[in-house]
Amino acid sequence: MYRYTDFDRRFVRQRAAQFRDQLERHLAGQLGDDEFRALRLQNGWYVQRHAPMLRVAVPYGELNSRQLRALARIAREFDGMAGGPYEGRGGGFGHFTTRQNCQFNWIALADAADVMDVLAAADMHGIQTSGNCIRNITSDCFAGVAADEIVDPRPYCEILRQWSTLHPEFAFLPRKFKIAVSGAREDRAAIAWHDIGLQLKKNSAGEVGFDVLVGGGMGRTPVIGTLIREFLPWQQVLVFIEAIVRVYNRYGRRDNLYKARLKILVKAEGQKFIDAVGAEFAAMLERDLDGSAHLLTDGELARISASFVLVPEGVVPETGPHVDRVVRSAAAGPAYGRWLERNVHAHRLPGYRAVSLSLKRAGQPPGDASAAQMEGAADLADRFSLGELRVSHDQNLVLPWVRVSDLEALWAAARDAGFATPNLGYLTDMIACPGGDLCGLANARSIPIAAALDERFDDLAELHDIGDIDLHISGCINSCGHHHTGHIGILGVDKDGQEWYQISLGGSDGSALSGAPVPGKVIGPSFAADEVPDVVEALIDVYRHERRGPGEHFIDAVRRVGLDPFKAAASAARHATAVHA
C-alpha cells in the first residue's frame, strides 16, 4: 500500500495545525457557527443529531494495521463523550461506510483537534471527507490482488488523491464531488454512480487508458453516468478531470441544493456539456501558461507505483501443482466450508486469497466495529495479511494477502474474534447507513430495520438457499445506504413526523451479479417499520416460488417475471393499520 513520504507526513500535520487554529477561534467565539461549518466539514467534522461526527478518510479503502489501531484508539479514548451512549463504557464504535471511510459519532468537538493529531501520527486525516469539494477517491476493495484485474487502480487513485487534496480552485464547488476508479473486469466500485467514474483499460498495444463516465449519482434524482471519453491516455487524466471540474464549478447550479450535483448539469446540457469539457481540455493544453504541468510522466507513475509493487515484501508466490488446494482438517467441519465458499475470494497470485472479515453480525449495526474489534482485525492483518486491510464498499473489511495454507488458522482466529459470519453476498450482508439514530439528515432509522431483518433471517441454511442478493437501506434520500442500487432497496421517509419505508426492487450497482447499473423501482406506498421484515420475507417467498432452479438469482427472477407478483405479495403483507395514502 501507499507509503507516506516525509512531505505527506508534514502535510497532514500542517493540516491538523490549521484545523486547530480554526477550532480554537471557533471555541473562543471568534469564528461563527456558519463560517466554522464549511471549514470543519472539509476536515470531516459534521454536527449530527446528538453530537459531532468525524469521518476519517481511508483513501481508496486501504488501511494498515497501525492505522486501524489508531482508529481503535480514537473509538476507545475519544468516542465516549459526556452525554453520549458510550460515556464511561471504555470505548465506542467506528462505522465503516459505503465510501470506504470510517466514522465516529460521539466525540466532543473540543477534542477534535487532538483527534486530528492522533490521525496525523498514523498518516491519516479527514481532509475532504465532507463539504462541497472533491471527496475521498474510492475503488475496488480487491485492487492490486483481484484475479480479474486489468490494471492496478491504486497508483492512479493515489495520484488523484494528491491532486485533489486542497485543490485551491475546487474547495467550494456547487455540491460534493465523488470519483471512483476500477481497474478490473468486474466493477466493484459502482463507478457509474459517481460524479466521475474511471474504468482502467489496456488497448491492443498494451497501453493504459481510462474510459471516463461523468454525471452519475444517487440522491433524489438517481442518474447513471454518461461516457464522456473513451480510452483517455493515462498521462492526461488529471488535465481531463480538471477540465470537467472547472466546467462544473463555473456552470453547476447553486440556486437549489437538490439540483446542484454534476448529474443535473450533465442531464440539462447533454452534448453541450461534453463539448464544453472538450473545449476546456483543449484550451488548457494549448493556451494555458503551464497548461501541461499536470500531464503525468512515466517518472511520476513509477514513483507512486513503487508503493504498489506486484509482489510486496513478505509475499512469496508459491509454485507447484497444489498451491491452491485448500486443506481442511477433520476438526474444521461444515462451518469452515461455508466460510471458504462465501468469505474467501480469488487472488491473482497462486497460493494466495483475499478474505473478507464480515462486519455483518447479529446484534451489531452493519459496518460497525468496536475498539476491541478493530484491534482484533488489526491483529489478524498482522498475522495473516502483511499488516494490510481494505474497507469494502459493502462495509466489510478485507485481508488482501492471505496464504492458502493459512486459511484454516485464519478462519479459526476470525471466528474467535467475531468476523467469520459466512454471509458475504447474502441477505444479511446488507448495506445500511447509520440512519436516524445518529444522523441529523435522516428521516427514519436504519439500524432497527437492519436488526429486525437480521433477526428474521437468522438461519444460515435459509440464507444460503436465498443466495446472492443486495439489500440496501438508506435512512433518507441522500442515499448513503445506496438503496437505489439494492436488488431490494429500503428508503426511510418521513410523513407527518413518522417513519415510513419505501421499498424498491431491481436496482443494480453495475456488478456482474447485478447487471447494468440502474436504479430500483418503487413497489408501492411506503410501509411501516414493523411491516418491513414481513414485506422482505414476502418478496423472498415470491422469488423462491418463481425461480427457475438455484442458478437463478433474486435479481434475475425480478427482471424475468417483472414487478407485479412482488408488488402483490408486498401489499398482502401490509397490516390493515398501515395502509395509508
Binding site: F7, R10, F11, Q14, R15, A17, Q18, D21, Q22, R25, Q30, E35, A38, L39, N132, Q162, W163, S164, T165, L166, H167, P168, E169, F170, A171, F172, L173, R246, N249, R250, R254, A283, R287, D288, L289, D290, G291, A293, H294, L296, T297, G299, E300, R303
Partner: protein
C-alpha cells in the same frame, strides 16, 4: 507569478465607483481611478481614453473570456464572492491569469474571510478586501500553514509536487 497579497482598506482605496445616490450612473465620465460595473464599461468602452486605466467589477457568473480583448485596459479586475462558499471566482481568477495572461491586480471582494486567503493567493488573486469584521492577524496567519507548498501546481507554484521532486 507569485506576489504578496495586498490588503485593501475600503475607506482608503483610490478606486471609486461611479454612482449617484448609490445607483451606478449609466455613462460615467472618463476620470482616473474609476471602478466600473461591466454594464458601465460596455457603455463607455469605445469612448474611454486608451491610456486611462480603469478598474472593473465582474460578477461571478461572467465568462471572463468575453473580457479577453479589453484586459490590457484594466488596472484592476475585482471578482466577487457574494457568499464566501460560492467558489466560482476562483476559476475566474485562474483563467484570467493562466489563460488570458492578465497582469493587473485581481481583487477579491464581497464576503471575503481570512480563511479563504490561501485559496485566493493560489488561484491568482493579489489583493483582497476582507469583510470588515475579519482580523488581519488571522488572515496573515492563514497564509502560513503550508510552508512547503501543496501537491498540485497553482498560480504561486505552477509545478505540481511531482515535477518539483523530479527537478530537485
Amino acid at each position: 507569478m507569485s506576489r504578496a497579497l495586498k490588503f485593501i482598506d475600503c475607506n482608503d482605496d483610490p478606486w471609486q465607483t461611479a454612482t449617484v445616490d448609490d445607483a451606478p450612473v449609466a455613462m460615467p465620465a472618463a476620470e482616473p481611478f474609476r471602478l466600473l460595473t461591466l454594464a458601465q464599461w460596455q457603455a463607455v468602452r469605445d469612448s474611454w481614453p486608451a491610456a486611462l486605466p480603469v478598474a472593473l467589477v465582474v460578477g461571478n457568473d461572467v465568462d471572463v473570456e468575453t473580457l479577453a480583448a479589453d484586459l490590457p485596459r484594466f488596472a484592476v479586475v475585482a471578482l466577487q464572492f457574494p457568499k464566501w462558499v460560492d467558489g466560482r471566482a476562483y476559476s475566474q481568477a485562474r483563467l484570467l491569469r493562466a489563460r488570458f495572461r492578465f497582469a493587473g491586480e485581481i481583487r477579491a471582494t464581497g464576503e471575503v474571510l481570512a480563511d479563504m486567503l490561501p485559496l485566493l493567493q493560489r488561484t491568482g488573486f493579489d489583493a483582497v478586501a476582507l469583510r470588515p469584521d475579519q482580523s488581519l492577524a488571522v488572515a496573515r496567519r492563514a497564509l502560513g500553514f503550508f510552508a512547503e507548498g501543496h501537491y498540485q501546481g497553482d498560480l504561486v507554484e505552477p509545478r505540481p509536487l511531482f515535477a518539483r521532486a523530479a527537478a530537485a
